[in-house]
């Protein structure tokens, strides 16, 4: 596996207690300054892979590493180097956007941040100024997603994991989100993002991993995809028209 990968999976396998194989010897690597999109439909194994990377479930086989730390062996150490954003960001409704940011920043090891630092992060993700000190109770999904992204940014971790981050966002919000993500890539972050949005994946991914039924069918670089119809390629792979 790549030596400099910030996020890496080696033969990652997950078989649940009921015998369902959710991941079958999946391997990939995400280097600094790279956006890696896990592309697949429901039940492809994307979320299972992410859950293993976040230490929520142990792998049945294989190793998942963040910043070269085995997440299963030393989850607390590995999690220091990763930020996470889910498809539906749910935060503490009694806290304001800034208070939520403050709590999660401190959880992520950032203890000396000022109010200005929080405001800067919130501005960066495009949250309206008037919402900074408002309670999360009345926030829309898009607004919550922005705060979630600010949380991921402010931790300044080398790895960022995003689970279907743009699902349910309106086009404007999705576009703003994409812009921020590209900015993070430029900063050298290794970004692992699961999505079933083929167009978004083609647009921003440096590498696309096509998954189906727990298997990594193909890993294609941006260069390889330049002259390909990703949608057709994806369908070909999942229908078995192309050998994995």
């Amino acid at each position: 596996m790549e030596q400099h990968a910030t996020i890496s999976a080696e033969g990652l396998t997950k078989i649940y207690e009921d015998g369902v194989c959710a991941l079958d010897h999946v391997s990939f690597a995400v280097k600094p300054g790279e956006i890696f999109c896990l592309l697949g439909g429901n039940g492809a194994g994307k979320t299972t892979a992410i859950n293993i990377f976040l230490g929520f479930i142990p792998p049945s086989q294989g190793v998942a590493k963040i910043h070269n730390v085995d997440i299963h062996r030393d989850p607390l150490e590995a999690k220091k180097y990763v930020s996470y954003l889910s498809d539906v960001v749910m935060l503490y409704p009694n806290f304001t956007a800034r208070q939520n940011l403050d709590f999660f920043a401190r959880l992520g090891g950032k203890h000396a941040l000022t109010r200005d630092d929080y405001y800067t992060a919130l501005r960066r993700v495009g949250l309206q100024e008037k919402a900074f000190e408002q309670k999360l109770k009345g926030f829309s999904k898009g607004m919550r997603q922005k705060v979630g992204l600010a949380i991921a940014i402010i931790k300044e971790s080398p790895a960022i994991i995003l689970d279907e981050p743009t699902s349910g966002l309106d086009p404007k919000a999705a576009n703003e989100f994409q812009t921020t993500l590209l900015g993070l890539r430029a900063q050298g972050k290794a970004i692992l993002m699961s999505t079933h949005d083929i167009f978004r994946a083609k647009e921003i991914a440096d590498t696309v991993g096509i998954m189906n039924e727990g298997k990594m069918l193909a890993i294609k670089s941006r260069k390889e995809l330049e002259h390909e119809d990703l949608e057709q390629l994806y369908l070909n792979y999942i229908h078995g028209k192309v050998a994995a």
């Binding site: 929520f56 503490y92 709590f103 999660f104 994991i161």
Partner: protein, 470 residues
Amino acid sequence: MLRILVEKELRDILYSTKFSITFGASALLVMLSFYVGIRNYQESMREYESAKSVNVSTMATLTDWNGVQHKVFREPEPLQVLVNGVANDVGRTTDMRVRGELSLFNSRYSVDPLFAVFRFLDLNFVIAIVFSLFAILFGYDAINGEKESGTLKLVFSNAVSRADFILGKLFGSILALIVPLIVPFLVGCLMVIGFGVPISADEWIKLLLIILSGFLYFGAFLAVSIFISAVVSKSSVSFLFSLVVWIFSVLIIPKTSILVASQIAKVPNVDAVDAQKRKFLNQQLAGRQQKMQQFMQSATFDEGFSNRFNAFNDSISKIYEKERETFFQRLNEDWRNKKEWQERWAFRLSRISPTAIYQIASSNLAGTDVALKQRYLEAVNKYQEQFGEFMMKKGVSMGGMRVVIRSSGQQTQEEQPKPINVSELPQFVETRENVAAAFSRAVPDLGFLVVLNIVLFAAGFVAFLKFDVR
């Protein structure tokens, strides 16, 4: 990390609507319980002082110590009105007699039966009933609620250990519960001082210990509700389970344990014991009458008759009194032993419930535990010895009949009998239990509360280790 989590939990609760409601209700109830307690204490003191004064003024009109019908009264204690315990069920007045069995009557509830139905709103009630409910309200969704709201996943995507998280939940919630208790409690203390209730240093310490035991008590409820929230996946279901636990702990177990104990350890009822006593007294009376008849048949009615009669009367009175005392003592002791055995069973069984443990501990600290009656009876029995000796010195008969021969004719002003000097009577002083004695009686239950907190928290922690945070 723990500090951050505790702080977050505390702030999350403090900013919530449920905290505002809890704080408002707690502040009102705690301050009201202090106010009601203070007013009750003042009223009880007025009644106590007035009863004492009526007792003295009634005796002051007498000219012969033989006619004295002395009463002693249980002095109200400030802590008893904050933690009622059995204080309102136990009689407050005792008819003092030279000899014989003493009993207590005129309890607060016998005078105000309405209060017996609804009971007083004391601090103990607020902690035992209301705060335990608040503890459940704060803890029932501690784990599964965060999962439902989606924040659990985000929290655990950071370097947070499960131990830190659950400890943060527990400590944060406890601190959030302490605020609604401490603030009005301090106001209540100022009210106590402001209204001039005489609380000694020992009693302040006892009150502090009662509050501390209250913290341990709702800590147990928090731990149990956190445990349930780590076992049950839906917060609505865990609320239901927590409520069932609360109902069992507060309402069912304490009452059921008494019923079960009464089946395990049977105790004859007081009426049966009284019937045995009456039967014995009737037998004694018959025997006494027979002896008296024999005496009278052989008596010579000369000048020395009254002295001989009184000497005979005293001698048989002594014998009968001794017999009666021995019989009653045996009967009472037997009944008390059985009762204590039953009480022990009831307490053992009730200690399944944190509410019962807390109530036993707090009433022990306040001196309003079930032994209050016995302790007070011991005090009045001790006083009875002093009183008896005093009355003997004043020539009062020990019982039975007495013959007094007076010369006939007009009495001059000088010969008029003088009123008795009531101040000569020995004073009944009820010693208040010191903090060490009260604490030593409360220690086992305080220990139980500590153990219960540890066990329930450990159970919650183990359950949380298996909890799927996804």
